[in-house]
Subunit: 264 residues, 2 copies
Amino acid sequence: MQKLNVIKIGGNVLDNADNLERFLTDFALLPGLKVLVHGGGVIASEIGKKMGMEPILINGRRVTDANTLHLVTMVYGGLLNKNLVAQLQARRCNALGLTGADANVIPAHKRPVKDIDYGFVGDVESPEQVNITFLASLAEQGIVPVFAALTHDGEGNMLNTNADTIASTLAVALSQNFEVNLVYSFEKKGVLLDVEDETSVIPHLQPDYYAELKEKGAIFAGMLPKLDNAFVALEAGVNAVIIGHAADIQDIAAGGNAGTRITL
Amino acid sequence: MQKLNVIKIGGNVLDNADNLERFLTDFALLPGLKVLVHGGGVIASEIGKKMGMEPILINGRRVTDANTLHLVTMVYGGLLNKNLVAQLQARRCNALGLTGADANVIPAHKRPVKDIDYGFVGDVESPEQVNITFLASLAEQGIVPVFAALTHDGEGNMLNTNADTIASTLAVALSQNFEVNLVYSFEKKGVLLDVEDETSVIPHLQPDYYAELKEKGAIFAGMLPKLDNAFVALEAGVNAVIIGHAADIQDIAAGGNAGTRITL
């Protein structure tokens, strides 16, 4: 099977023009098939403030009311997505901006209200629902999809959707046709044994070692959901999940030593 | 050759929720191949005002400075485009949102500064530069492109671009592969002999009759650029240009009597 990298960039790449330029230059040069996924929460909050909107948080989690949905649809789907596309095109990477609504690539539904109503937030349907026929046709044409963190409910509403989830859903779905590596690029060198020490990157995580570290409480709590999801993606067919620094994307994509490589 | 309709909707459709719902329901039901093109200037101005931005006009024409470019990229490429896509998906029309930057479909360049600097405004390259291979592949997959009035300069900048021009450029380019009708949907029943009288629609315009009406001053001056451009599109291979009311789109697309039909 052909190799394909699904690469998610975190806020620290988008929020800093220098980091972004460097990342896009590296990304454009990556050989082979690739998909980019981005969020943009910090920039959405900044633009919301200019419009007199304050982020709505319940228990520290963001709520997407109708105005917030308009805001993220504008910022993620328009401003950030189209500027990423234009900047990749300038680097001779034939990028195409997408949300989950376009060509119904990622069907989703509004999160059911239990204790808290998170508003227009999307939970994606299973990876089997992803329109991989369309994505495979883009790959054949040398077109590189750039996904904003938005889906839709099939009833006319866009939905604000976690970018990590979009990346893992796409990675699992594309594993039917390709050998997929899922890369989470962020502001650290990888998963650290000591959050204060950037040199303490764990080079390789497998289920046994992860269980051992988890039991010892040796992994930063904020990293646990990402790692749990990484193992779910691997169980569902993804070849490897790599967590590492955006500045190391070329080494990571080439299968080098940068970042934390997670496999079964 | 297969038939294909390129349909541009004017502000009066986008700005009114009832008109839009009706139009989208009709559009989704149109048989055969179709492309939708939209602008959104009124809504962009409204959102700009919320952000403290006043439209910048020189001699009555809008100037696109860097902030205005961000605004229209958000509103046309994000808010309006993605909501149109979601609403068409809800009507089982497999819509895909695009700008000229995506898959480099419509290459353009920043308008050269002569007397007036219009800022980040795009003049499209010739229709031969349009990526019709990609558009034909969408058509084969039953995917309906929905274009926002944005292009890019190939150097990393998005460009604000006239929606009528995007529609006619696409229509001319697609005429290489399809029998294309170009439809301008707006708030009038067609080209009127008497602007005060909605029943005075000219049913059919051909070059001789147009020249005659033009000489007599019988056509509303504001309509002349659209009509001149219509004849340019026809000369370049478009089958027919139809100007009519958005509420009549089904009749127009079926080749009925609604609107003004312009042919060579």
